[in-house]
Amino acid sequence: MPEMTLIDAVRAAMDEELARDPRVFITGEDVGKRGGVFRATMGLYEKYGEKRIVDSPLAELSIVAIGIGAACAGLIPICEIQFADFIHPAFNQIVNEAAKMYYRSGGAWNVPLTIRAPYGGGIGGGLYHSQSVEAFFTHVPGLKVVIPSTPYDAKGLLKSAVRDPNPVLFFEPKKGYRSIKGEVPAGEYTVPIGKARVARQGNDVSVYAYGMMAHYAVQAAEQVAHEDGIQCDVIDLRTLLPIDKETILASFKKTGKALIVYEDNLTMGYGAEIAAILCSDGFEYMDAPIMRLGGPDVPAVPFSHPLQEAFMPNPHKIAAAIRQLAAY
């Protein structure tokens, strides 16, 4: 099985979907001739032509709005937002139009739209190239929110997203675009949306994470297993909306102790919802206060390298939190 980077897997998924279904097209800033700023669409313009790989104006609102209109008209758009930080101009289109279309039209119209956006910090990108925006959208019924952490899942989940009849936000951990490698089957396969992945098994502490943090969580889990004999269950959530409560609770019932890691700032982040699920549905299995590890509540990920390090959760910080929880 060939080994691929995360970004290669994303490209492979789009390539296969473009080849499979002529209704699929890609639009976004620099996705055409340039092949995308991260090279996610490299070679696709040459292969599929300008009618299917469409460079857009520098206007996220219109990228998504065009996608919604095309989807309603029977096409299957993949919209690329160059950085998740820039998705905010399209917020109205996503929340008010894409998410509500099926509901508001009584099922007459649906929006099979996929919006891809690199997200997350740790790459020295500073305020406008490091944001985590998932929590804004996981609050919106009508959307699906997917964050893969491995090349295998990135390909399988993106293909599922393209085929999904609903609008799917597909956030890619950009720090892992080239650093995360893994085996990816060459041909057709999909990974279902809505199922978390048990990345590592243990009975002492459950660690919930997604994206880059899922990798860090596994690294931290290996570290504490080696140094302290603490065995962690690591749950890579993969899909943030809809939530895979079953897998989340199964792990918690086993361990009774939960750490939720996300690189967004802490307050009102996605981890709060996981904590609420554990409290309401797992109360009688709880053996320690539920713990969240996130970034501090500052307006953005700082540009300064030491400050960025202070902001970002990393394997060392996760290991410290696991030890604290295991000792409780």
Partner: protein, 446 residues
Amino acid sequence: MPTNVIMPQLGESVVEGTLSRWLKQVGERVEEFEPIAEVTTDKVDTEIPSPASGILLAIYVAEGQTVERGTLLAVIGQPDERVEAMPSIVPAHAHEGAAAQTSAPSAEAQKSTAQRYSPVVARMAAEHGIDLTRIRGTGLGGRVTKKDVEAYLAAQAAQKQPASELAPWEQPGGGDLFKPTDEIFAAANAKQATPVSQPAITPIQPPTQPLPSAELSGTLVPHSTMRRAIAKHMVESKLHTAPHVTTVFEIDMTRVMAHWKANEAAFAAQGVRLTLTAYFVAAIVRAAQAQPTLNSRWTDDGLLVPNVVNVGMAVALNDGLIVPVIKNAQDLSLIGLARQVNDLATRARAKQLKPDDLQGGTITLTNHGVSGSLFATPIINQPQSAIVGTGAVTKRPVVITDADGNDVLAIRPMLYATLTFDHRVADGAIADAFMRVFKETLENWR
């Protein structure tokens, strides 16, 4: 400014100790250097002197709990001072961890001690009928963790052999008095399958530890599990649950003794040893049916009055006491009752009672007369409302009035019987009405 009482280092390499007894209670005045608690370690037993004069404001470590050196035991201060539920003193290792920003456990949560239990620990304790104070916590500040409970259960399971089919029979707060813990059952049950020579319950051990006190020489006898269970139930019933009142009746047992003598052999022919206990149970049934208020359980919602009379009978064992229950005593004849009394007493002494034998009692009999006692004031077997005590039947001169109205002195077999009842449930008049039926039943036995 309140002063903290801290678990001291009690000798070289001694890092923990068991708080065996509080010598002062919350609210009491203590003087500096006055002993306020007794502490036991594996090397030394000692008293902890008060570090200050004032009022004992709060106690954070329960008797019997083992804690590390440096643990906060209590706070001493002035009467108007207020203390937190669990202030200060976080074990040093709780501060590790350089997280970017963590939301929990909060500093407050980390201060919890072994006296507070997580939901999963509380649930497991309820499911398995575990007394959590018996488990040594390995969590932060001595917390009992889920793993501690699992380890405890695993140790229990390793001890018992065929006991796995026994349902957990004692729920906290719902247990009848005198019930031993589940371990006793496991042990008792295990005995059935193992050679008779193996004792089911650890007998009182020969003294193993020298008594620490200099002015009082002697030995310290460890408590058996049953002793601890009895102690707990007694304190709970008498001090924390029911206001006890006792009424005493004198009963002429002439008719019963005559009936007994006349039927003893006939009963024996049917394999039943007739004892006075059977008569007493029969009389309790009559009295309970006449005054059902006392055949009851107090609940916050109302008085639970069963439509059956299940009579518990206290059976003395070498190392304690157990109360098997005669179910549906109202349906049994004297011989049926006697047969039940025989069976339960025999199996109780052989430690072969089943959990079900101990459940469902609605009223209890303690026939303390078998050991010569004339009358006693027993403790109510919670959650019941009353207990009947019967003393020794002794021949005494009594004044009786003959058919012609003449008073004469006669020698009669006499009995003092007591009814100890929960004054929340009933008043003296009802209790005495109960005892009148009890008395008339025995005096007019035929």
